[in-house]
């Protein structure tokens, strides 16, 4: 078994914010099952803040822990703050990821970013209306 940190194991065994949001303000999906990892992030935005973040992940222990950690890091942050979450900062918060897992499983920040982009582009087309 790969040597995962206690933090990774905690987030894998007890993942935070698993699920979907009904009528989400933004959705981001990255990866594909052929490579072994796929993540979907749903966000609810209120007053430019991530009021709620939910994820679903198909993948290894690291992929699940990464998604959980990203959701926890992002929740409550402004969109600008949330966009600063990077694969590196996620791995750091998880007290490290095995080298071979860093690239393939560390897609959470990207998925979150995509969800934010999705929200922003929807907002644009709706003429700047915010919930």
């Amino acid at each position: 078994m790969p040597v995962y940190s206690d933090k990774v194991m905690d987030h894998f065994m007890n993942p935070r914010n698993v699920g979907e949001i009904e009528n989400p303000d933004g959705v981001g999906e990255v990866g594909n099952p052929v490579c072994g990892d796929m993540m979907t992030f749903h966000i609810r935005v209120k007053d430019n803040r991530l009021e709620d973040v939910k994820f679903k992940t198909f993948g290894c222990g690291a992929a699940i822990a990464v998604s959980s950690m990203v959701s926890e890091m992002a929740k409550g942050k402004t969109l600008e703050e949330a966009k600063k979450i990077t694969p590196k900062s996620v791995a750091d918060e998880l007290e490290g990821l095995p080298k071979q897992k860093f690239h393939c499983s560390n897609l959470g920040a990207q998925a979150l970013n995509k969800a934010i982009q999705d929200y922003l582009s929807k907002k644009k087309t709706k003429g700047g209306k915010e919930r």
Binding site: M1, G36, M38, M39, K56, T57, F58, G59, I64
Partner: protein, 395 residues
């Protein structure tokens, strides 16, 4: 918490009798088997006893056994050594698509050395169709290497039928018997092959020891240069304690193998059948009947193998997976892909391999523990939610 070891394809535990047999050779009997004094005699007698025991397990002659440092080394020696010995006749080698990497990568090395390699395909159960073999054979084919059983999906190959074809054409045939020797009855005479590899840690012997049987009269080029140990076919001072352990394990397996098969087969069948009944969208991998006695392998749709493995481990159950995430190379199992299983489904690979210590209660525990784990991961899986929303799920 209950502890259930179901990863016997990775390695089996060491039998206490085997450990006991090894102990003197980790102590007072430390001599070099090549030495001409009493110390050497003691060690030499021990490895010659082991040689006879290993030969006995597979119906061979003692002098045809070459001890190696692992099953991997035995496969390397067979593929490279047999091909090199014949290279004046030709430089073409045939392997199956589902061989262990120690065979496939040895074949790759032969390619670098100027050989050509053909791969025989397998069907959806991982079976090599003997009729496909002649198509791959050429005038310059000097070696065929097809495994007796695959350790990932458990399928047992029709080796005797394939051997008939190679024998008619006078082509040496090696079979990787690492998954079979000591696990099912193996007789090299009945198989009709020319070389067979085996490994100690697959049948309750120690790790770090294997053997290659090469039929008398078949030439092989050694991979290690040095002294004339092992009849000049494998240089280096013999690892006496593990060779003794391999011999003892072989002796015990020879006596018990039929009993072991009889005990494991119903446990395996129950696991295959009842798990399929309890978990939807579960695919059994490998042949339903022609499979290793303790081998139950599956692909679980919509979820990934490593996370299943980790959750089972947290419940005290040890298993393996062929998913990309569990492999260091991050590639899905070449065995599953060769069988035509889509990459996506191969990610959900999970493998239970039973051993002689397992009981009906262990199977009960797996049957009770596995479904909620699958359920939990599916609730987390975007693939599963897409599936249920598409209306096909019915849940």
């Amino acid at each position: 918490m209950r502890k259930v070891y179901l990863d016997n394809a990775a390695t089996t535990p060491l039998l206490p009798e085997v450990r006991e047999a090894m102990m003197p050779y980790l102590g007072d009997v430390f001599g070099n088997p090549s030495s001409l004094h009493d110390w050497g005699d003691g060690a030499r007698e021990a490895i010659e006893t082991a040689r006879a025991q290993v030969a006995g397990l597979i119906g061979a002659k003692a002098e045809e056994i070459i001890f190696t440092g692992s099953g991997t080394e035995a496969n390397n020696l067979a593929v490279k050594g047999l091909a090199l010995a014949q290279q004046a006749k030709g430089k073409h080698v045939v392997v199956s698509a589902i061989e262990h990497f120690s065979v496939l990568h040895s074949a790759k090395t032969l390619e670098k050395w100027g050989f050509e390699v053909s791969e025989v395909p397998v069907d959806k159960y991982g079976v090599v169709n003997p009729e496909d073999v002649p198509r791959s054979l050429r005038k310059d084919t000097v070696l065929v290497s097809i495994m007796q059983a695959n350790g990932e999906v458990g399928t047992i190959e029709p080796i005797a039928e394939i051997a008939k074809i190679t024998r008619e054409r006078g082509i040496p045939f090696h079979t990787d018997g690492v998954a079979t020797a000591g696990t099912i009855p193996v007789n090299v005479g009945e198989l009709g092959v020319d070389a067979l590899s085996l490994a100690g840690n697959q049948f309750y012997g120690p790790k770090g020891v294997g053997a290659l049987w090469v039929r008398k009269g078949v030439r092989i080029i050694p991979l290690l240069d040095g002294g004339i140990q092992e009849g000049g076919r494998r240089a280096g001072t013999e690892n006496v304690p593990v060779i003794v352990g391999l011999g003892k394990a072989a002796e015990l397996a020879q006596t018990d193998v039929t009993k072991r098969v009889k005990r494991l087969t119903p446990l395996r069948d129950r696991l295959l059948k009842e798990l399929s009944g309890k978990i939807e969208h579960l695919v059994v991998t490998g042949h339903p009947q022609h499979r290793l006695p303790g081998h139950a392998s599956f692909c679980v749709e919509f979820i990934e193998g490593e996370s299943m493995l980790m959750l089972l481990n947290s419940q005290g159950i040890a298993v393996s997976s062929g998913s990309a995430c569990t492999s260091r190379a991050l590639k899905a199992s070449h065995v599953l892909i060769a069988m035509g299983i889509p990459h996506e489904l191969a990610q959900g690979s999970i493998l239970f391999t039973l051993g002689i210590d397992n009981t009906a209660e262990d199977i009960d525990y797996v049957l009770e523990t596995m479904p909620p784990i699958v359920d939990r991961l599916r609730q987390m899986s975007p693939l599963y939610s897409k599936f249920t929303k598409s209306g096909k799920g019915g849940k």
